[in-house]
């Protein structure tokens, strides 16, 4: 019951006029960011993070998380109208969404997508409200070995769950850790890996890396395809909306299933993209109209959108309660917490009640406001897409450069951003995942600190990570996640061997 009282306290914070204003601005910016190629949730938040330094942490997190919701909504618009996924997690939405638009049902497809997004997010927020305080309370007992074990679990599930070859994930992740290590060593105060270069003394800031890898890298990728937008107009009128809503009720089972998939994939840091594909795949197999998927089935829009939004939202659960972000954007938000002087993790629920519950309350309200905004603004947003890329690209480059500069007011950061951009393009082209790299840069120092403190306690023995039931359970879970593909393959072989007998 204490949680409910806290939640209402949170609502009271959120409906202060300034916070409401910040929320609407955040969502509008987020939708635009989600629609534009080259600007996604993660680097949109990264670029705008420095501007929030002067706000109170609560207003700042409301604005930044609303940018995130907006970006999640915005990705659907381009997928359906133009068959161009604005974000990786809306790729699965194009499969049925765009055929619907071509059949002249763009309004229905968009309504279905937005509503499903909203349902998915709402489900995830309710789950966060109920589960996050419990997880946080539990995590208060964690010492350094347990903390490291949680990081270990997070990074192992990346390796085991991602579509990319595991060794590429490991390589990308470890490069992130190495970049995080550059500069001042937090434990001994010694300089390392700087090789006498003054600009490296402060280390690599993850914001610069995010802006470069995701922003500049994405523009280079888009440029390669030589994008020219050609797409239909979309009108949404209230009649279509209500009709679609009535039809959507029929798909409650699909919705619920997608919510659960999304939440699961969001908490384990697999993220929104695999969640949307998995949900689409399962819906296709289970649904009666499964064979017709891909030709413009409304159910094929509901499944991936619900899962993507549920995953994107629930990615904040481990970030808030454990200090381990479930997605690159959550990682950037976590970095924001550190900059505002808040320590992410279980203590947040004890020491910063107003902040945590303000954020959770803003998730409820932000998604509702987001739904209304996207339903009413679709024609305007579609118009943004008709601006030629040769105008948008340089403007985005300038915005990225300003964003990179304002992090530390250092011109050298702009150079770093450009270098990261080229690296991001090369890594993407050769199939290295970028999300673990970013997560490792953000968490590198904390993971290392936990690791070294644990070893200090045990005088260097690795046995400390298996010294009690709690830490061993987490470590074993991590190992299972790490070798999941092998276990799965082995299990199916065992089953096949047993089947004839």
């Amino acid at each position: 019951m204490e949680e409910i009282a806290n939640l209402f306290g949170g609502f009271a914070t959120v409906i202060q006029p300034f916070n409401l204003l910040v929320m609407v601005i955040g969502i509008l910016l987020g939708v635009v960011i989600g629609v534009l190629p080259g600007l996604g949730g993660a680097n949109g938040v990264a670029i705008l993070l420095p501007l929030t330094f002067s706000m109170s942490p609560t207003s700042a997190i409301i604005m930044l998380s609303c940018i995130y919701w907006g970006a999640l909504f915005g990705g659907a618009i381009t997928s359906i109208l133009f068959n161009i996924p604005g974000e990786p997690w809306s790729v699965a939405t194009t499969f049925d969404g765009h055929p619907m638009a071509r059949k002249g049902q763009a309004g229905e497809a968009l309504t279905a997508a937005f509503t499903s997004s909203f349902v998915g997010a709402l489900f995830a927020v309710v789950m966060i409200t109920l589960v996050a305080p419990l997880v946080a309370k539990f995590a208060l007992q964690f010492g350094p070995p347990e903390k490291f074990a949680v990081y270990f679990l997070a990074f192992c599930s990346f390796v085991g769950m991602s579509k990319e070859p595991p060794m590429k994930t490991v390589a990308a992740m470890m490069i992130g850790f190495a970049l995080a290590a550059v500069g001042l060593d937090q434990v001994t105060g010694q300089l390392r890996l700087t090789f006498g270069i003054n600009e490296l003394l402060t280390g690599f800031d993850f914001l610069i890396a995010v802006i470069g890898l995701f922003g500049i890298g994405e523009i280079l990728l888009t440029m390669e395809e030589g994008l020219s937008f050609r797409g239909g107009y979309a009108k949404i009128n209230p009649k279509v909306v209500f009709q679609t809503w009535r039809e959507l009720l029929k798909y409650w089972a699909t919705s619920l299933r997608s919510c659960v998939i999304g939440c699961w994939m969001g908490i384990t840091p697999a993220g929104a993209t695999p969640a949307s594909f998995m949900s689409y795949g399962i819906a296709k197999r289970v649904s009666k109209s499964g064979p017709k998927f891909g030709t413009g089935e409304i159910e094929g829009v509901v499944a991936p959108e619900t899962a993507a939004h549920a995953a994107g939202t629930s990615a904040l659960l481990p970030m808030l309660s454990l200090g381990v972000p479930g997605s690159p954007t959550a990682a950037v938000l976590l970095g924001g917490l550190l900059i505002w002087g808040l320590q992410p993790g279980p203590m947040l629920f004890v020491e910063q009640k107003e902040f945590v519950w303000g954020l959770i309350a803003s998730m409820y309200l932000g998604n509702l406001v987001g739904l209304v905004i996207v339903l009413t603004c679709v024609p305007m947003l579609a118009a943004i897409l008709r601006i030629p890329f040769s105008i948008i690209a340089p403007v985005i480059l300038v915005v990225c450069a300003i964003g990179a500069y304002t992090v530390h007011n250092a011109p050298f950061d702009i150079v770093l951003m450009a270098i990261f951009g080229v690296i991001g393009y090369l890594l993407k082209k050769t199939g290295y995942p970028l999300a673990p790299l970013v997560l490792a840069i953000v968490l590198g120092d904390k993971a290392e600190e936990a690791f070294r403190q644990s070893l200090l306690g045990s005088q260097g023995g690795l046995g400390v990570f298996f010294s009690n039931t709690l830490v061993s359970t987490i470590m074993v879970l991590g190992l299972i996640a790490l070798f999941w593909p092998l276990i799965q393959a082995g299990w199916s072989r065992v089953r096949r061997a047993l089947a004839p007998a």
Partner: protein
Amino acid sequence: MEIAVAVAMLVFAGIVIYGALLAGINWGAEGPRAGFFPFYVGVLILIASLINLVHALRESRKRLFAEWGQLRQVVSVILPLAIYVALVPWLGLYVSSLLLIAVFMKWLGGYGWGPVAALALGVPAAAYVMFEKWFLVPLPKGPIEDLLGL
């Protein structure tokens, strides 16, 4: 291309390991020394990229990295970006941005001088109002802003 990336990562791993050795990887008076963690990270990069290199060598030459036309497009962004980045410390962010947008629109977009001038002047001006006046964040300026007395 995949081979080149794997080799670059090997080099990177070497740098990390060398740097870690410089910082000291053994057990010091106050516990593990600064290079301890980076050393093992470097070793892991080394192992992972060796495996990736072997994979890449085995299946190479089958897949094309990118078409030449695509690469030209990409270079046509990287080149102005590199020049832009190099110009910022000399000319300041505003003038460089103006040039970047103008060159981009004129060269790649083929627009007339009207729209080019409008956008190339408009974006830096908007950035100026937003950052210097509204958020009170000074952006890098060059000699031209000094001349104008901004």
